[in-house]
Subunit: 341 residues, 2 copies
């Protein structure tokens, strides 16, 4: 068994066939489900596989089947922000593990520059991948639509902006999450509730704002546009947003910030203005990333089920590879109470 220094030629299906005393065809059938194989042949082949340590050559298989049995995980701009977002890690890990359970390798592709985008699109449309899991914070990104048009199965993380799109997606229920948070703030007796929204050219930004307005209207609390500002999910934007709110509506007693990272910035700004959290101003975040638990005080937030999102993305993609139609999945969120409210 000494094999140091170089790789030996791996056993092929032919070696297994010879060892088992059957033909290649029979071995191939065993490998692909075992239909139309007699019990003794099945056992002989399995024994031969164990004995030889045979592993299928995926390249040879792909060449004839036309499938690659691998999936791409595509992250499009803006990398800096997203890549440092802990939520991204959870997604990537979840997808990798869900695919591993099906023995499907994941190819990581980062499209930062325009040049990289072209390269990657070329790679994908060349048929090197069976499907693509797409993550982009900018949901207006046309790449999902382009790949879909080229016949490549795609599942996007987060709702796409264009509503007519037939691209599969998996997302958390932004609107409902926002409703829960605002109801929670109302239940604490707060009435001057500000909001720092996400970018309003993305469904995440729009839907969370819609939920906010909906609940306030329901409760008979009027909507004061001075209580509404927007940011881009970054920490700095949260800080600036809170400052703007304080200037426009100094009497606010709560803020719903549309991401935990922005909430961190908001905490800084509010504290600097001398407001106590949560006594003077209650602060609610969105995401439930680790940032939320490590903040001081720990953030009340809306949990996005990233582990389930990744699992669903893989499930939907594999279903599509199996011939099913594109699907949209919306997963429920959950209010997580901590000390900031």
């Amino acid at each position: 068994m000494n094999n140091a220094g170089g790789r030996r030629r791996p056993p092929t299906i032919h070696d297994v066939a010879r060892e088992a005393g059957v033909s290649r065809g029979t071995v191939s059938r065993v490998l692909n489900g075992g239909h139309y194989v007699s019990p003794p042949a099945l056992e002989a082949v399995n024994a031969a596989i164990r004995k030889t340590g045979y592993v299928v050559n995926r390249h040879a298989r792909s060449l004839i089947t036309g499938r690659s049995d691998s999936v791409g995980f595509l992250l499009t701009e803006p990398q800096e922000r997203f890549f440092e977002d802990p939520n991204f890690n959870v997604l990537l890990r979840g997808c990798t593990q869900a695919l591993a359970a099906h023995d499907i390798p994941l190819l990581l592709m980062l499209a930062g520059t325009e040049d990289e985008r072209r390269r990657i699109k070329r790679f994908i449309t060349a048929g090197h991948l069976d499907g693509v899991l797409l993550v982009t914070s900018h949901s207006a990104d046309p790449v999902a639509e382009e790949l879909h048009k080229a016949g490549v199965p795609v599942v996007q993380c987060g709702k796409p902006m264009r509503s007519g799109s037939k691209v599969s997606y998996v997302a958390a229920d932004d609107r409902d999450g926002a409703r829960d948070m605002v109801r929670h703030l109302l239940s604490l007796g707060r009435r001057r509730i500000g909001i720092v929204t996400g970018p309003l050219d993305s469904p995440g930004g729009v839907d969370r704002l819609a939920g906010y307005k909906e609940v306030l209207a329901e409760a008979g609390v009027g909507i004061d546009e001075r209580l509404v500002v927007s940011g881009d999910y970054s920490r700095a934007a949260g800080e600036a947003g809170a400052e703007r709110l304080l200037a426009q509506a100094p009497d606010l007693d709560a803020v719903f910030v549309a991401s935990d990272l922005m909430a961190l910035g908001a905490l800084t700004a509010l504290r600097r203005a001398g407001r106590r959290i949560p006594e003077d101003v209650a602060v609610g975040g969105f995401d439930d990333s680790i940032a939320a638990t490590e903040a001081t005080p720990p953030l009340t937030t809306i949990r996005q089920p990233y582990d389930r999102i990744s699992a669903e993305m893989v499930r939907v993609l594999l279903a599509q590879l199996g011939g099913e139609d594109p699907a949209a999945v919306i997963l429920p969120t959950e209010l997580v109470r901590r000390e900031s409210t």
Copy 2:
């Protein structure tokens, strides 16, 4: 050019040959470097490639060459900690981009459970990968050695524990970084300098401690074992470590904490004990992760050049694929002064 709804058969080398009026062999030669091809033939082939939109079928190529032209990025346990470490992201992104420049896809493999480890080892040794970039916080991990013995080119991130190993690695100069930090603390007039080391079964832990002791000895400051405690790089360990130091040596005036994450915990513990940072106790970290800049006060730390580390890992691996011998690369660190010292 309408191709909605399904993939069309991609053009093959044969289509290109027919289009260019040459044979398959000539096209193949153009694809692989263009040697022994006449100028007119070269141009005709290139034109045909552009016209047909031809992209090489990697599976067919791999089948005949025996190479896969793809590389694995393997992360072994313990995932939870490492995966949430922002440094990991920087490594992963750096490797992906460096490989993309050579048109080499990266396959992400996470080995959490023992079952996953077996699966992945099987996958790799089956020849589905040309080489492996290995990241593990536990440097005693035998997987590097195993893969190496199986003839798979490996480059490890961080120095391996076993010194006799012939596995390539790329690491920052831990010892020198520690020396710089301790010299810096000495230059501030501090003499009672504590240390929270990393795990002492890893070179990172051992070497940083060695640097610490070396500089103190050089400076004629004795080594007080009450000033030395160790942790596991986690935030909680930093907090506990600082508490132990405060109990064992209440007169300390500086702490060198062997990771930024631990330093965050140490800040909490020191502040709770009423020590002002940096007036009473100066705190130095290690890594220069984003945690360092976001801490209050921002941490003085030793910068590990993760972007260069990832680039070197890829360079060394590709060199090895090209037939060169395994290599060890140690990169210089840099002191980053901020407000915690």
